[in-house]
C-alpha cells in the first residue's frame, strides 16, 4: 500500500471526524462556557447559618440588626445592617449610611490595620506594635505633664456624652489640660436655650403626635436628629384620602423637606428666627395664643427691662418682617392662623442645612412660639425628656489650672473646636504641642477643615485614633487603629430633637481588623501607663467595664448590651417643671442674665461685654428670645452670594465618611462627571453672573474655595449658592476619594454671639467661572 498524500489526507480527515465524534469538542465548549459562569475573580460567598444581633449605630442613633452569617470555613461575618423592627424609635427603618456601614468596616484598603508611626520629614510610615505605640503616646503626654505644659495639649472627639468622650475628657483633665473639644451639635444649643428659658436641658419635639409642624430652616428629612424616627413621624402625617398632618417648611431652597412639605415658605436665609417672632406677634395681635403665656416671667415689662411683649410690639411687625424675609404676608398670616388653630401644632428648630449647632436666639424664639401655642408638655408639642440615668465614671476631677485655649472669657462654658484651633494657631493665649484626634475625622469635618488641617500640620505631635486611614490619619504622626462600631464597645446618647431619651450600646459583633482596639481601651491603656492621678481618674481595665459602670442604673449590663438600647418608656406629658429661678417659664432668662452679670463683674460692664461678644441690641434684648442678624449678611457686598449647604441622607454631616453605596446613589445634582461637585443656583442669579448650566465655577470664601459644576435649579433661592456637604474626601479608597470637594473647606465659621458655639450656616462667597 502506498502511503501517499491522498492516503494521508484521508486518514487525517477520518481522524478529525473521529475526534469530533468523541465528547472532546462539545465538552470543551461546555466547560469553557461554565468557566465564564465561575470566574475566579468573581467572589463566591460561602453560605452558613444566619443570626441577627441587635445594636445601635452611634452614627445616626438608629437601632439596627446586624445580619451575621456563620460559615463553616470562613467563620462569622456580617453581611447586612438592617433596621431593627423592635427598636422603639427606628421600628425597622434604616438610613443609607448604616445600611452600607459594612463597606467601611470590611474594606482593608481604608482601615488602619495596625498602629503606625509616620516620619514627618520623609513621610515614611512604619508599622509598630501596640506596646510601642502606647509608649509613644503616654511618653509624649507624660513629658508634657512633667514640664508643666500639660495644658498645651488639645484633644478632640466626636461626642462629649459617649463613653469615649467621657474617658477622653477625664484623661485630659486629670493630666492637667483644659482643652478637650467635641463635634458641635444642636443638642448643646437646645440645652442652653432650654435651660435659659425652662431650666430644662433635655427638650424634644413630639413630631409623631403633632398634626401641624412648622420647621424653621431645619432639614427635617435630610438628617435632623434621629433620621429614621423623624421619617416615621413624617409618614404619620401622610395618609389616605387626606393627610392627617401638615408640614410647613421655612427655608430658602426647594429641598427634600420643602418639596415634601404641604407648604413651603421660601424665606431669606437666616431670617427664620424673625419669622418665629413675627408669628408670636400675629398670634398676640389676633388673640389666638395660649393665655398662660401672660404669666411667664418677662412677658410683661419688668423693672429696668422691657418685656417680651413690648419687644414684639416694637420690633416684629408682621409687615416689616415678612418684607425682610421675602415672603408674602398673606402666606405668613395663613400659616400662623393655621398653626394657632391646629389641635397639636409644634414649631421646630434645629441644626441648619449646613449641620451647624444652630443659633441660640433662634432656638429661644422657636421655644417662645411653642409657648405661645401652649404646647409645652402636651402631645404633639415640646416635651422634656427623662434625663438618661447614666452614672459618672468616677469622682469629680479638679479643673486644670490653666484657662482653656478659647471661651474662657464667656459667661458659660462652651465647646468651640474652631475657636480653640484658631487660638492654638495664633498662640493666644498659648500654642499646643500635642493634638489628639480621637475619631470624628476633624481634619475633614472641621467645621473649618482648612483650620484643622493647618493646626495638625503645625502641631509637633499629632495622634489619630481612628478606624480609618482618613484625612486625620493622613496628617498624624501616630495612627492608632480603633474599632468600627460593629467591632467594639461604645455607646451613644439621645439624638437631637427626640421626644424621649434613648441610650444605645454597641458591642463587638464581628472582627474585621484583628488589631483594632476600642478608642476607650486605647485611652485607658495610656492612662495606665501615665499612672498617678490619671490612672486614678480612670479606674477601668476596658471600655466595656467603663460602660458597665456607666449604665449600672439601666439594669443588667449583659442584657442591655444584648438589647443594644435603652429607651425612655413613656413620653412625659403634662405641665413641664420649670427649673428656673422664677419657677416659671422665663421669656426673660434670669439664668442668662445672672451668668452675664457675674461674668461681667458689674451691671455697668455688662453692655461692654455683650458688645464684645457681638450681641446686637445689648442688654435690652439679650436675655429675651429675639432675632439677631446673621453675621454672614454683613459680608454681602458687591456681587457676593450666600453659600448654604445641601444636606442629604445620601451624604454625611460629620462623623463617618460617605460610603461607596452612598456615592453610587448620588444624583447628578450633587456629583457629576466622575469627580465634580455640583452646586445649585437660581437661573436669575446665574444669568446676572453670566453663568450657564453646566459651567465650571469657582466658589470662593475667605476661608477657602471650591471648584464645582453649576446646576441651574429653579428651586434655589436667588442670591444664593447651594453646596452639597460631605463630599470631597481625599481618603477612603477609589470608590470615595476624590469625588467632589469638601464644603467645610469653604465654610466660614463664626461664633454664635451668645452661646459661643461655632456656626457656619451661611457664608458670603463669590462665584465666578473657573478657568480651564
Amino acid at each position: 500500500m502506498d502511503w501517499d498524500r491522498r492516503t494521508f489526507v484521508k486518514f487525517a480527515v477520518g481522524a478529525v471526524i473521529g475526534v469530533h465524534a468523541s465528547p472532546l469538542i462539545p465538552k470543551l465548549m461546555d466547560d469553557s462556557t461554565i468557566w465564564t459562569q465561575n470566574w475566579s475573580w468573581v467572589p463566591n460567598p460561602e453560605g452558613g447559618g444566619v443570626a441577627y444581633a441587635r445594636t445601635v449605630s452611634p452614627q445616626t442613633g438608629t437601632g439596627v440588626l446586624a445580619k451575621i452569617v456563620n460559615s463553616r470555613v470562613a467563620g462569622e461575618r456580617a453581611i447586612r445592617v438592617e433596621g431593627d423592627p423592635d427598636h422603639p424609635l427606628s421600628q425597622g427603618g434604616v438610613v443609607p449610611a448604616d445600611a452600607s456601614a459594612l463597606q467601611l468596616l470590611y474594606n482593608e484598603e481604608i482601615r488602619v490595620t495596625s498602629p503606625m508611626l509616620r516620619n514627618r520629614k520623609t513621610g515614611e510610615v512604619m508599622r509598630i506594635t501596640w506596646s510601642e505605640a502606647l509608649d509613644q503616646l503616654a511618653g509624649n503626654l507624660s513629658e508634657l505633664a512633667k514640664s508643666g505644659k500639660a495644658h498645651q495639649s488639645l484633644a478632640l472627639a466626636p461626642d462629649p456624652s459617649d463613653v469615649t468622650g467621657r474617658i477622653l475628657s477625664r484623661l485630659m483633665h486629670s493630666l492637667g489640660s483644659p482643652n478637650t473639644a467635641y463635634t458641635p451639635t444642636p443638642r448643646e444649643t437646645m440645652a442652653l436655650a432650654g435651660v435659659f428659658m425652662m431650666g430644662q436641658p433635655f427638650l424634644g419635639f413630639d413630631l409623631a403626635n403633632a398634626n401641624y409642624v412648622v420647621s424653621f430652616g431645619t432639614p427635617l428629612l435630610e438628617g435632623f436628629g434621629a433620621p429614621v424616627a423623624v421619617r416615621q413621624a413624617y409618614a404619620k402625617w401622610r395618609g389616605y384620602p387626606k393627610n392627617p398632618g401638615t408640614l410647613v417648611q421655612i427655608e430658602p431652597r426647594a429641598s427634600v423637606t420643602a418639596g415634601q412639605a404641604d407648604e413651603w415658605l421660601p424665606c431669606k436665609a437666616g431670617s427664620e428666627g424673625a419669622l418665629a417672632l413675627a408669628m408670636c406677634r400675629i398670634m398676640l395681635e389676633e388673640g389666638i395664643y395660649d393665655k398662660s403665656i401672660e404669666s411667664a416671667y418677662g412677658f410683661d415689662d419688668m423693672k429696668g427691662f422691657a418685656g417680651f411683649k413690648s419687644m414684639l410690639m416694637k420690633d416684629y411687625d408682621r409687615n416689616k418682617i415678612a418684607k425682610m424675609a421675602g415672603i408674602p404676608l398673606a402666606k405668613l398670616i395663613k400659616i400662623t392662623l393655621a398653626f394657632a388653630k391646629a389641635e397639636r401644632a409644634v414649631a421646630v428648630c434645629g441644626p441648619g442645612n449646613s449641620g451647624d449647632p444652630g443659633r441660640m436666639y433662634d432656638f429661644m424664639a422657636v421655644l417662645a412660639l411653642n409657648a405661645f401655642k401652649g404646647n409645652l408638655g402636651k402631645p404633639g408639642g415640646v416635651l422634656t425628656q427623662q434625663p438618661l440615668p447614666l452614672k459618672a465614671l468616677a469622682g469629680d476631677i479638679a479643673d486644670p489650672q490653666q484657662p482653656p485655649l478659647a471661651g474662657g472669657e464667656r459667661p458659660f462654658n462652651v465647646n468651640n473646636v474652631n475657636a480653640m484651633a484658631k487660638a492654638a494657631l495664633a498662640k493666644k493665649p498659648y500654642g499646643i504641642k500635642t493634638l489628639i484626634l480621637c475619631g470624628g475625622n476633624f481634619v475633614f469635618n472641621g467645621p473649618q477643615a482648612n483650620v484643622m488641617h493647618e493646626l495638625a500640620r503645625k502641631t509637633p505631635f499629632v495622634v489619630a485614633i481612628t478606624p480609618y486611614l482618613d484625612e486625620s490619619a493622613a496628617v498624624a504622626d501616630l495612627v492608632l487603629p480603633s474599632t468600627h462600631w460593629l467591632e467594639g464597645w461604645g455607646d451613644s446618647t439621645t439624638p437631637y430633637g427626640s421626644p424621649v431619651s434613648s441610650y444605645g450600646v454597641h458591642r463587638p459583633l464581628v472582627k474585621a481588623v484583628p488589631q483594632a482596639r476600642d478608642a476607650g481601651d486605647i485611652l485607658l491603656a495610656v492612662a495606665q501607663r501615665l499612672g498617678g492621678k490619671v490612672a486614678e481618674a480612670l479606674p477601668f481595665k476596658s471600655t466595656e467595664e467603663a460602660l458597665a459602670k456607666r449604665s449600672e442604673d439601666l439594669g443588667d449590663f449583659e442584657e442591655l448590651a444584648e438589647a443594644g438600647s435603652w429607651v425612655q418608656k413613656k413620653a412625659i406629658y403634662g405641665p413641664p417643671k420649670f427649673n428656673t429661678p422664677s419657677g416659671k417659664l422665663e421669656l426673660f432668662s434670669m439664668i442668662l442674665h445672672d451668668l452675664c452679670v457675674k461674668q461681667a463683674g458689674s451691671a455697668d460692664v455688662l453692655e461692654n461685654m455683650l458688645a464684645y461678644l457681638g450681641v446686637e441690641g445689648g442688654a435690652k434684648t439679650a436675655f429675651l428670645p429675639h432675632w439677631q442678624k446673621p453675621a454672614a449678611w454683613g459680608d454681602l457686598k458687591g456681587n457676593k452670594l450666600l453659600m448654604q449647604a445641601v444636606p442629604s441622607l445620601r451624604t454625611t454631616w460629620g462623623g463617618d465618611a460617605i460610603t461607596p453605596y452612598m456615592v453610587k446613589i448620588l444624583p447628578d445634582t450633587m456629583l457629576a462627571e466622575q469627580d465634580k461637585l455640583v452646586v445649585e443656583m437660581n437661573p436669575i442669579t446665574a444669568k446676572a453672573l453670566h453663568l450657564n448650566d453646566g459651567d465650571l465655577v469657582q466658589v470662593e470664601s475667605e476661608e477657602g474655595s471650591l471648584t464645582a459644576k453649576l446646576s441651574v435649579y429653579a428651586g434655589a433661592a436667588p442670591g444664593m449658592v447651594f453646596v452639597p456637604v460631605g463630599l470631597g474626601h481625599e481618603a477612603f479608597g477609589f470608590q470615595v476619594a476624590g469625588k467632589g470637594m469638601n464644603f467645610n473647606n469653604a465654610a466660614g465659621v463664626t461664633s454664635d454671639p451668645m452661646s459661643g458655639m461655632p456656626i457656619w450656616e451661611l457664608t458670603g462667597v463669590t462665584v465666578k467661572k473657573a478657568r480651564g
Binding site: I79, G93, A99, Q103, Y106, E109, T659, Y661, Q735
Partner: protein, 278 residues
C-alpha cells in the same frame, strides 16, 4: 394566566411618603451584592436595581415642587389589564396576548415570567449579554455589567451568600428579592407552615424609614397591597404602553400622577426630554 392557586407579588410605593433618602437603594445593593465602580456618576453604566429618581414640577422659584420616584423592576406581565369581572383584575386573561417586554425578547431564555408568583427572573449565568432585554425595557430597570466589579480587599466578606455575585458581560435587575422567598419557603418545607405576608418582604420595603413601600400579594384581600392599589390615587408608570406592571404608585399630587403616566402634552414631553430629570 393567573389561576386561583397562584399568587401575584407586587409593590405599592407611596410617592408622597418617599423622602428620597436612598435607604431602599442602598439596602437593595447590600442585599443583592451589587458592586461599586470607579465612576458611578455615569448613571447609564451604573447598576442600581432600585433607582430613586428626583422629579420636579418644572415651575420657577418659589413654586417649585419636588417628588421622588423609586423605580425597581416593574415585573411586567404585559397584555391588556383585565377587569375585576374577569377574575384577576391586574392581569391579562389571555396568556397568548401577555408578553413581558423583556422576557419575550431574550434569545437564550435567561429570563422568565414565573406563573406561580408573577415575578420576572434574570439568570446571569444563562445570560449571553446581548442586551436586547435592556433595549426592550421602557423603565430602564435592566442593567448590563459593563465592567468586572472591583471589590476592594476585604469587602467580599460583606457579600450575601444568598445572592450570587454577577460577572461582567451579563444583565441583572431587581428580582423582588426572590432569594428571600426561597429562604422563607425553606422554612415552610420544614415546619409545614405557609409563607405569610411578613415572611417575604423585599429589602427595600423593610429598609424604608418612612414606610413608603408596601409589598405583598396583589390578589390576596388580606394583604395591604391589595387595598392600596384600589385607592384612586394609585397609578402605574407608563400605563398606556400596556406593560401591565406589578409595581404601583400612589400620590395625591396630580402633577406627579400625570408625569408618571405619560399624559404628556407635546410641549411638556419636549421639555421633560430636553431638560431631563435630576
Amino acid at each position: 394566566m393567573w389561576r386561583k392557586d397562584q399568587v401575584r407579588y407586587g409593590m405599592v410605593i407611596d410617592v408622597d411618603k418617599c423622602t428620597g433618602c436612598g435607604a431602599c437603594s442602598v439596602a437593595c445593593m447590600s442585599e443583592n451584592n451589587v458592586g461599586v465602580l470607579h465612576d458611578e456618576t455615569d448613571k447609564i453604566k451604573s447598576i442600581t436595581w432600585l433607582r430613586v429618581y428626583q422629579i420636579d414640577n418644572g415651575k420657577p422659584f418659589p413654586d417649585t415642587e419636588v417628588a421622588f420616584f423609586p423605580r425597581p423592576c416593574m415585573h411586567c406581565q404585559g397584555g391588556e389589564s383585565g377587569t375585576p369581572g374577569q377574575g384577576f383584575f391586574q392581569e391579562d386573561t389571555d396568556p397568548d396576548a401577555a408578553h413581558t417586554p423583556c422576557v419575550s425578547v431574550c434569545p437564550a431564555t435567561a429570563t422568565d415570567y414565573d406563573d406561580a408568583t408573577g415575578i420576572v427572573s434574570q439568570i446571569p449565568t444563562r445570560c449571553i449579554g446581548c442586551r436586547y432585554c435592556v433595549a426592550a425595557c421602557p423603565y430602564h430597570a435592566r442593567y448590563f455589567n459593563w465592567y468586572d466589579v472591583p471589590w476592594p480587599k476585604g469587602t467580599p466578606r460583606a457579600l450575601s451568600p444568598f445572592v450570587s455575585p454577577r460577572m461582567r458581560g451579563v444583565v441583572e435587575k431587581c428580582t423582588f428579592c426572590y432569594p428571600r422567598l426561597q429562604q422563607a419557603k425553606n422554612k415552610t418545607f420544614l415546619d409545614g407552615s405557609e409563607v405569610g405576608e411578613m415572611d417575604y418582604q423585599t429589602a427595600c420595603t423593610e429598609a424604608c424609614p418612612s414606610g413608603a413601600i408596601t409589598f405583598g400579594q396583589l390578589q390576596d384581600p388580606g394583604h395591604k397591597v391589595h387595598k392600596l392599589i384600589k385607592t384612586d390615587h394609585a397609578f402605574r408608570m407608563l400605563e398606556k404602553l400596556g406593560t401591565n406592571p406589578k409595581v404601583y404608585y400612589t400620590s395625591k399630587r396630580k402633577w406627579v400622577r400625570m408625569l408618571a403616566d405619560n399624559h404628556l402634552s407635546q410641549a411638556k414631553a419636549a421639555k421633560a426630554a430636553a431638560s431631563g430629570g435630576h
